[in-house]
Symmetry: C2
Subunit: 460 residues, 2 copies
């Protein structure tokens, strides 16, 4: 008997039947510490890539590891029928470090606790990757005429620096897809599916000022010699009002599109709670407390943040020398319609005009991404969430940046949508990270339904 | 035949006769690396104290090491006749570290190069200490009826933290003096003796702000959560205009006495050169270029400096996390008539009023010192310099702080004057530090004459 992707009960049965496979494979992936930022874990990252490819191969997908200048990229095709539409599923199998004493279990040994799967990478992003894979297997069991490509990255947590180059070198093959679905985002709250219609970008940069050649004695020279730490602080204060976060650089907000009434309405319906936000991030006081304004600032407004200062004395007490050089590390998050280059040019021009001997140096940036909230792909996302979770999805935005997303849309020329499954309480990047069966089970059904939708209608 | 302290020629002969002793003793002291800041050098610091006491004992002084909670203090009396006046000479035998590759000779092996004596501590302050000692020996040879006490510290370079306590515990003995002469200051230029009529004090303090409990993701939370680094920068910018150094705290300058016309005139005659200052400190651009205003800022105006920042990321590139806590290390130099407590209270009140959740913490401060430019002691300094160096002395100020000076005046209740012998080119705290025979020879004559003056007239 063939599975039907329109029967939620049959999908539930499919998921229940495959639950032990899902758990076994999740354990296999989580138990490999694929910490991409740690050079000592490079072998583990490769082992994880091989294990991921092996999972795909075992279910009949054909693929390979694409070598890059860094960690490899997994690419595999589950069926490859020229007359069928093709969808590419993007996930990543590398993980954040799991240092510190706050883990109550071994982060690299999957612990199952009722419906919870606890371990580093369980929700970011190994659990969602396998959920999408089982969704594709369900679609295949239902004879859905669609080709599913899997593109599993192993450098997402370190900025996807080799991803663009890997796409360019394999473009001919990777372009054979009609759309891309990314499952690496977090709902605003449980029971309320949300899909980002935009991601913020990021432009990191560094300010440097040298005013002398060696440490100067603050008694013998103080009052007359310049102080590069204090002067760079003045530069920062000219750029941003720190308590409110308001950026003072003329034109900085010019390219920010105001939210449409529909977008504002979606934000209001997203299930965002200020109390939950404060609890999740353990913060008592905020720059803003009006919930809609908080969401606007998190998802739809750019930022200007200081991340660190180099120069001077940092030991105990005070050593009263005046340093010869100082450096401030900063970044801006960007929203759709802004660009890294234009933003950086504006900042640099502002600073160089007022503080001519300050050096302004850009680090590699990530462009913002504006997604779609209408059309067949967005409709398929809505229908998939409704089918899988019995609840209407909301199109919000994501405050973070996924470097791979604008890169895929630009290089492959195909639209990207998001079918994320993680929840705030799952703890992205946090100790005791977990994924849960409720999200996996609903996700398998949602993905199966999503593939079935796209098989019937052109994507885009 | 008895030496005459009014004949410069006889003093020159005395100095020439004792030159080899001076050089031998200077080598003995310089060759001991009495680096007081380095715990690994504690034994060397004590060896140096013992060697210093041995020099004093060899010439007939009677004394001992006064133990403190840190390095010992040398105290010795050269003659002790109750009916004679007594003068205490303060110097220090501890030295700065001599790290780095810029030394052309072994810093702890005195190198004699013509009239130059090269080594760490040669000018700061072992050479001047021995010069004063040979001056006292000359006075004794001239039968000058004066008792000379030597107080040689071994913690000057680390803030004299145990000095006050040592004075208190030995107050009865140390109070048996009529005045104190300090030889640990630097002339403005060679050939132009200068004596500071004031020292700046210093009040170090630390600002701390905590806004969260852990690092926050600048994408997921950025724009809404507070940034403690940026906010502390705003605090600093509210306190000081960094490029000019102007302090913006109301009342900060209220207690600063304007220079008198006589003081301004002394500054003008001091031999200060902006070009020399820039060359000595290797600085190209300054906050101020008018020479008189530069001197005023260095010697007679308070400062507000940033020395370091703790919190956030300081590695290569930019890591875009928002830190939960930041700390800024600062200090103010104070001028006579200001006090540490009043200055700190004013700063703290200003900050707490505007930035209520910023913590303001004071570190131990050093009070400023206002000396005398008239009266018998100042006149004796003038006469001594004129006799020793054939040139009129100028009373300027010192931008640095010598913690021991206000402490001695307060605890012993006796006036302090300065008979310094070092030159800017000698390189206080710098590589290739040296002292020279011209300053030593003139200094021996000057000290002998100084003691003779004080034997004839009451001090104070």
């Amino acid at each position: 008997m063939t599975l039907s992707t329109t029967s939620r009960a049959e999908l539930a049965e499919f998921a229940a039947h495959h639950r032990s496979d899902f758990e076994r494979w999740l354990a296999r992936l989580v138990n490999i510490p694929s910490v991409s930022v740690d050079p000592a874990r490079a072998t583990d990252v490769r082992r994880c890539a091989e294990a991921g490819l092996d999972c795909l191969t075992q279910v009949g997908a054909r693929g390979e590891l694409l070598e890059t200048g860094g960690h490899p990229l997994i690419h595999a095709r589950l069926s490859d029928v020229p007359t069928w539409p093709t969808i590419t599923v993007y996930n990543h199998l590398d993980v954040q470090p799991a240092d510190g004493d706050d883990w109550r279990t071994d982060p690299f040994q999957l612990t199952t606790h009722g419906d919870r799967y606890i371990g580093r990478g369980a929700t970011d992003d190994k659990g969602p990757a396998l959920t999408a894979l089982f969704g594709a297997l369900a679609a295949r069991s239902a004879d859905v005429p669609i080709n599913v490509n899997f593109l599993w990255e192993l450098e997402e947590e370190v900025g996807s620096h080799h991803f663009e180059d890997a796409l360019l070198r394999n473009r001919d093959s990777l372009k054979r897809t009609d759309a891309i679905v990314v499952s690496d985002t977090v709902w605003v709250t449980r029971g309320k599916p949300s899909s980002p219609a935009g991601l913020r970008g990021m432009q990191p940069f560094v300010l440097t000022l040298r005013t002398a050649t060696t440490d100067l004695h603050s008694g013998i020279t103080g009052g007359v010699v310049r102080n590069p730490l204090a002067e760079l602080m003045q530069v920062v204060c000219a750029c941003v009002e720190a308590r409110s976060g308001r950026v003072l650089i003329p034109g900085f907000y010019d390219d920010v599109e105001p939210l449409t009434p529909a977008e504002e309405q979606a934000f209001r319906e997203s299930g965002f709670s200020l109390e939950t936000f404060k609890r999740d991030h353990q913060v008592a006081s905020l720059r803003e407390t009006d919930p809609l304004e908080v969401m606007r600032r998190l998802w739809a407004m750019p930022t200007f943040e200081v991340h660190g200062v180099v120069g001077g004395y940092t030991g105990p007490g005070v050593k009263a020398a005046i340093p010869p050089r100082a450096e401030v590390k900063l970044s801006c998050r960007l929203v759709p319609n802004m660009t890294c280059q234009k933003t950086f040019d504006r900042i640099r021009a502002f600073i160089m005009d007022r503080f001519p001997d300050v050096e302004v140096h850009a680090e590699p940036g990530l462009e913002p991404f504006k997604g779609r909230t209408s059309g067949p792909l967005a409709d398929a996302v809505r229908a998939a969430y409704r089918f899988g979770f019995g609840s209407e999805a909301v199109f919000t935005r994501e405050g973070g940046s996924i470097g791979a997303v604008p890169t895929m849309e630009r290089i492959l020329g195909k639209p990207v949508v998001f079918l994320g499954l993680s929840l705030p309480e799952h703890g992205y990047h946090a100790p005791n990270e977990f994924f849960d069966w409720e999200q996996a089970e609903g996700g398998i059904a949602a993905f199966a339904h999503f593939f079935a939708q796209l098989a019937q209608q052109p994507a885009g």
